[in-house]
Symmetry: C2
Subunit: 327 residues, 2 copies
């Protein structure tokens, strides 16, 4: 009974975001056997959010016809600076968290070992362990979503630096005096190429009288705008949206070149909601720009590609983390 | 006779630049006991340059009352992409070299083992081994001279990446559509904050009628302008030069913050001719800007400082390399 057997031990990965909690149940071979999604409701405070994470995990496990006793470990990626040793979220601006003992409190709720990682480092771990079969020694992962984050692999291991916060590539300034970023600086990669940055540009242009299919699809306030809507508009012939997405792809390509010049990795892998939705539109431009911009010596033999894990990178990374730690 | 004893074995470090060759003789404890400088004359071709390197080394050794038989090894830092295994300079635009067998040819001239490294990686090695006594695990070195290069230490070892070309931080774009760089792109850190970039700004401003003490000191064409002249002009009250240097320091601070956000190193160390000459003017601004720009989580406990090795970083690194390799 291989199926029943593999079901007797499972791992849960959690991707904790500013707006949603995603929990995935994985078998011992790290196949995803079920997912559950819940809104974060960060405004209710850390305790309430941790209760929601616990419920989200319970529901995901239950949905797979499993019970919590079969879960050997839970790995969580949290959006911000974390301390893996103490299991604390040191600082997570999107959650308005500071020094939250996430590991300890969630273990109290569920009575299962919990392991903590930064969300993008976690996503990198998921991509590296399940998607990059050749196990390249040096990898840079770039995740474009609401914000932009990075994950770095050096010598086949996650690289997190001196304070555990390496990989904040979203706050690499690529345009001195560029658009204002949430971090307070100007011209960060995230302020230019994240979903937030794209949507801001679109909103501003509409305010200035720009016509676009997006308003026909979603109404004038674009309340429910998602990355996928941009793809739909482009495929229907919306040149305004096309131009914005192409420019963002070009700027992302320059950021990729920066990271290639600095790290000289073997593989650059791009993921996150924006890439997931706009892969066909963006990846050719990103690859072209990066190859034309990086120093000729550094680019040789380097692969630049999109992750196939999409939204599942974070939960997969959580499961990988849990599996590694409970070995 | 400890002195005679230490003199019986020595190492030579060579810093091969586009305009000058610097050779240093080091005792077994890596103290510099003599230096020699020669112009490169790159336009005469690789063979002639390699002959000049050999002469520069011979003269430096002779000047120390030593002979070549006492030199256990020679370490060279070359400005470009190198292949340490084959000892070839793969590509060095400033020398107009492509696939030059520097190690082999120089060994033929001198009959001493020769070891090759990229110039900035070599300078980083020199700084790390002789200056950073605490042996931090993660270090980023930034060298501002004619161009800008970097050296990276991870886990206490020089990090050179997949093709051996990691650390090309001078070609990190920090201003989309910024000033043109020699590499063909726009807005590279090097095109904004290298000596070349500073001098270009000064020349252009003078052409536009800007008054400065520099022309009084050096004549209208500023033919012999050096970084040290900027310091002299600033100390004599030249506000135009002061403003340019302060702006360059500010932009360098932003580049430092980028590298801190990406690498989260323990130490950032700045060196090269520009920093050597303008340390007092630039370092306070670089440190302030970097601390204000980097993410609050990443900056904690990180030291940002100037190297004391100055122009000797490259030759020291060469000697370290030679000593390590001949052990």
């Amino acid at each position: 009974m291989p199926e029943a057997n593999s079901k007797t031990e499972c791992f849960v990965g959690v991707d904790l975001g500013g707006t949603k909690i995603l929990a995935g149940v994985f078998d011992g071979q790290l196949n995803c056997i079920g997912r559950n999604k819940m809104s974060t409701k960060a405004d209710r405070g850390a305790e309430a959010v941790i209760e929601r994470i616990a419920r989200c995990v319970q529901d995901a496990v239950d949905e797979c016809d499993l019970n919590l006793k079969q879960v050997r470990g839970i790995g969580i990626g949290a959006p911000g600076a974390i301390d893996p040793e103490s299991g604390k979220v040191v600082f997570a601006p999107n959650l308005q968290w500071k020094d939250v003992a996430l590991k300890k409190q969630l273990e109290k709720h569920l009575d299962i070992p919990v392991f903590l990682e930064n969300d993008c480092a976690g996503a990198m771990l998921g991509v590296y362990e399940t998607e990059l079969q050749a196990k390249p020694k040096y990898v840079v992962g770039i995740f474009l979503g609401t914000g932009i984050g990075g994950g770095i692999v050096i010598d086949g291991k996650l690289y997190t630096g001196f304070n555990g916060s390496a990989g904040e590539i979203g706050h690499m300034v690529i345009e001195l005096e560029g658009p204002k970023c949430n971090c307070g600086n100007r011209g960060c990669f995230e302020a230019i190429a994240s979903r937030t940055a794209i949507f801001r540009q679109i909103h501003n242009a509409i305010k200035d009288g720009q016509k676009t299919l997006l308003t026909e699809m979603l109404g004038n306030d674009l309340n429910d705008l998602r990355s996928g809507d941009l793809r739909k508009a482009i495929r229907k012939g919306d040149n305004f949206v096309k131009k914005i997405v192409e420019e963002v792809a070009h700027h992302t390509g320059i950021a990729v070149a920066n990271l290639i010049n600095i790290f000289n990795p073997e593989v650059v892998i791009l993921g996150g909601g924006v890439i997931d939705a706009l892969q066909d539109e963006m990846m050719p431009i990103i690859i072209d720009t990066a190859k034309n911009t990086a120093m000729s010596g550094t680019i040789k033999g380097i692969q630049i590609m999109a992750s196939k894990l999409g939204d599942n990178a974070g939960i997969t990374g959580g499961a990988v983390l849990a599996k590694k730690q409970t070995k």
